[in-house]
């Protein structure tokens, strides 16, 4: 008995010693690097206030939230909202659409930036390169509402796209925005158009970091431009590609809901309605806050799991990883 207490005491004191020494070290460090702490504080505060703080509100996913009763006052209902969502008529469709749209954007939109960067890297005329770059990243600065407006105009029955198709191939006008089977193509296509230039910038930056002597050596060994691209440029930007890919996978379940809201209508719900837009309709328009919090939480959990898996794979396969 006495022995135990003594041991516990010893343990305790060692623990408190550890804590004390930790605080000491932090104090010392703080004195030494005051300015750095000051500089990082806005970022830390941002995360605490805007990212971690609101997580407190997540509890309403397990409650029957009523604004009048507040977060704490609303009664608990457990997993009721989750059950309702899993049994919802649209559950599978929402899941399928969310995953497919994300998947297609990984498959088509993500490589588009890499390909453009690779092509631009091979261009020798600086004026041409600059022009192409400016033209391709311009749309990134145009508001989403305007982009979708342009999309509507171009793909309308009497719009440019149908005019061209009719003129060249004699195809009857297609109401693109009203047909479910066209939605994904339009969504991903316009996404590429809007962002390809912007996303190529980071890859171009990575390419400029590659040691020029590598190219010279390859040339000496008789490698052509394609060989150089495949064996030097691509491996050179690989770490950047992997990191960006992991980050993208972390956002996997978030598929530009704002744009879908602008683009969809009942005729295209079939392929367009995703978890995010469903949450918007349920939560904001029908003020079913608890239910949409539950759905949102479910979505976040999937994204988090995917992120961990992706990072794990990256760690196994290469040395590039997020943590």
């Amino acid at each position: 008995m006495e022995k135990e207490t003594a041991l516990q005491l010893k343990h305790k004191s060692s623990l408190s010693k550890k804590v004390a020494s930790f605080i000491d070290r932090v104090k010392k460090d703080f004195k030494r690097n005051k300015m750095i702490y000051l500089m990082v504080s806005p970022v830390v505060l941002y995360y605490i206030i805007f990212q971690y703080g609101p997580m407190y509100g997540l509890q309403i996913a397990f409650k029957d939230y009523s604004p009048a009763l507040g977060f704490l006052g609303s009664p608990w209902v457990g997993f009721e909202h989750f059950k309702e969502f899993f049994n919802s008529f649209f559950f599978w469709r929402l899941l399928r659409n969310t995953i497919l749209l994300s998947f297609y954007s990984l498959l088509f939109a993500f490589p588009a930036g890499i390909i453009l960067a690779l092509l631009l890297n091979e261009v020798r005329s600086r004026i041409f390169k600059r022009t192409v770059q400016t033209v391709t990243y311009m749309p990134h600065f145009v508001s989403l509402v305007v982009i979708v407006g342009i999309l509507y105009d171009f793909t309308a029955r009497d719009g440019v796209v149908n005019d061209i198709l009719g003129f060249l191939f004699g195809i009857e006008p297609i109401a693109f925005m009203q047909q479910a089977e066209w939605f994904r193509t339009l969504f991903i296509g316009s996404d590429i158009w809007q962002n390809v230039g912007w996303s190529s910038i980071i890859f171009l930056a990575a390419m400029s970091n590659i040691d020029p002597s590598l190219y010279e050596a390859a040339k000496m060994d008789g490698a052509g431009r394609f060989k150089q691209m495949f064996h030097i440029t691509l491996p050179g930007i690989m770490p950047t590609v992997v990191i960006l890919l992991i980050l993208l996978i972390g956002k996997f379940m978030t598929v530009g809901e704002e744009k879908i809201l602008l683009m969809y209508n009942p005729t295209t719900y079939e392929t367009a309605d995703v978890i995010g837009t469903y949450v918007y309709r349920k939560g904001i328009l029908e003020s079913n806050f608890s239910y949409s919090a539950a759905v949102g939480l479910f979505k976040a959990l999937i994204a988090f799991t995917l992120l961990v898996i992706a990072n794990g794979i990256a760690r196994k396969v290469g040395d590039t990883k997020l943590w």
Binding site: A68, A175, N265, P266, T267, E286, N288
Partner: protein
């Protein structure tokens, strides 16, 4: 000593309870007290003054937004401030349609409420009773009886209206927008290009088969005379079918819930609805129905009409006939949009349903929020609109500026009818009055008599009024809080599926042979339970 301290603590506790009870609006205790009408300490109405200032949340009607930043700039409120001395701080949500719903819901969720909120409280999630229970708005019965003599008199003289503004729980929750005359209740229907009919030597259609003939003639006869087959014979939007019963009424049903001699039915699962869909599908395939019908907005619709392409459409007397005839006056002098009867299946019959507003529907009604500090004063201020003087002000504006009394008839001046700045009448009215789009007031028939200046518009009210029975329309029932929670959770997914399928059936993407599956799916989603809930609400309404 012991006894004394015990008594003291007991007293303290009582005091505490009282304070807690008063400061929280949702305790059931207080609700019951309110419902009994006891224990409310109402000031002597004589002592109540107009409030010094109030905050007032309401959407800004598009026709007002054209000329004014806020309702403070509008004649009626400037005059009202002179009379009552009350400074009003208006808060207007931006945008239209769902933007407003969104901002309303966020405002409620934030808990920071202005004194007066003008909205359709009848349609808020979980209904007005729940909004009172949650403390978002307050029950007004006693306040109206005590402090709003004008509205109180009106409600007592019009028991039918009083029934509509009262919930099943017996709460009056709003200062209503009331249509004061039958002529004000019909304002929507089918309209057709009369000049095209004349050109092709056709009669105005009145049955579904006549419609089909006329539309086909429009399609093939090149009535706009440009040598191309670019005419769009018909434009009706899915919501017009769904909520108003355009064309659906010919099939003896309403697409949504309707009242079949006291039994609630849901039209879209009836076999008649399949007949309706079959016709629409046929028209769509033949190019009679605009291929863009499912995703058209006001701008696109305007373009189709003003491009001289559209043969017939569903729309308003003012915002349809009036607007387009005004727009086309100079361009195509013979352009005439003329109202057509609501179509029926057989010659000489009436459509079962069409647009017909109730005297009270919920829109643009002003409720007092739970955070208002001086409800009695606000009630007195709101009641002014229902007084003789207020009635004139809200319906006709400022005497000498927007109207003159000529032989006892309030006649709009040229400022309104022939605006010097070239404003269309809707916008000119919007600068002075509120009756043109709704507000907490009684709408005056003399407004509409002058507003509908064109003979076609006058004719429209008559034709549309006469050619539908409307007996099957549901009265403005209310669901109680629990019911409406259940009802909403059924209907939100169901409506999504419904909207999608109806459009697909019409566009032929879903074969009509699948109609039975559609009905079965609706049943699987709980439509029968929704009907039960509506039935209960209707039964209670009938008993009120």
């Amino acid at each position: 000593m012991w006894e004394k301290s015990k008594a003291l603590s007991f007293l303290l506790m009582l005091l505490l309870l009282l304070v807690v009870g008063c400061s929280s609006n949702e305790t059931s205790n207080e609700k019951e007290e309110q419902a009994d009408g006891e224990d409310i300490d109402l000031k002597d109405p004589e002592e109540v003054e107009y409030p010094d200032e109030i905050t007032y949340w309401t959407e800004l009607n598009p026709s007002v937004a054209q000329t004014s930043q806020s309702l403070n700039d509008v004649g009626v409120y400037q005059e009202l401030e002179k009379i009552t001395g009350t400074k009003v701080e208006f808060k207007h949500p931006s945008g239209e349609g769902t933007d407003i719903t969104e901002q309303f819901n966020l405002m409620i969720a934030s808990g920071k409420l202005p004194d007066v909120i003008e909205y359709n409280w009848r349609t808020v999630p979980n209904g007005p009773d729940k909004a009172i229970e949650a403390g978002n708005i307050i029950r007004l019965n006693e306040l109206i009886e005590n402090n709003a003599p004008n509205l109180n008199r009106y409600l007592n003289e019009n028991p039918e209206v009083k029934k509509m503004v009262t919930t099943d729980a017996g709460n009056i929750y709003t200062f209503p927008f009331i249509r004061g005359d039958e002529k004000l209740m019909v304002f929507m229907g089918m309209m057709i290009r009369q000049d095209w009919l004349d050109k092709l030597d056709l009669e105005k259609p009145s049955t579904i088969s006549e419609w089909e003939e006329v539309l086909t003639a429009f399609k093939n006869g090149d009535p706009n005379g440009n040598g191309e087959m670019d005419e769009i014979p018909l434009m009706v939007q899915p919501d017009d079918f769904k909520y108003i019963g355009a064309f659906v009424g010919a099939y003896e049903i309403h697409a949504q819930f309707y009242n079949d001699n006291g039994t609630v039915k849901y039209g879209s699962i009836q076999p008649e609805f399949k007949e309706f869909l079959t016709t629409m599908n046929k028209w769509y395939e033949q190019g009679l129905l605009d291929p863009d019908f499912a995703a058209v907005d006001t701008k696109l619709l305007d373009a189709k009409v003003t491009n001289n392409q559209l043969g017939s459409l569903f729309g308003y007397t003012g915002g349809g006939i009036g607007k387009y005839m005004g727009l086309m006056e100079d361009q195509i002098p013979e352009f005439t949009l003329s109202p057509t009867p609501h179509p029926s299946l057989k010659e000489g019959e009436k459509a079962a349903t069409a647009q017909l507003a109730h005297p009270y529907e919920g829109y643009h009604s002003a409720s007092i929020s739970g955070s208002a500090e001086n409800p009695e004063e606000i009630v007195k201020w709101l009641d002014f609109a229902y007084s003789e003087e207020g009635h004139m002000l809200f319906n006709f504006g400022v005497e000498g500026e927007s109207y003159e009394m000529i032989d006892g008839y309030p006649t709009y001046t040229e400022e309104i009818t022939k605006n010097p700045d070239g404003l269309p009448m809707t916008q000119a009215l919007g600068k002075y009055i509120r009756a043109s789009y709704g507000g907490p007031l009684v709408q005056d028939v003399r407004y509409v008599e002058q507003y509908l200046e064109l003979p076609e518009q006058q004719e429209a009210v008559e034709i549309w009024g006469e050619t539908a029975e409307n007996e099957i329309n549901m009265p403005p029932t209310t669901l109680n809080a629990d019911e409406s929670e259940e009802f909403n959770s059924i209907m939100s997914d169901l409506d999504t599926y419904y909207d999608e399928m109806v459009v697909r059936f019409i566009m032929g993407e879903e074969p009509l042979s699948n109609f039975e599956d559609f009905v079965a799916t609706l049943k699987g989603m709980g439509i029968e339970r929704a009907i039960e809930l509506q039935q209960a609400a209707l039964d209670r309404y009938m008993e009120r």
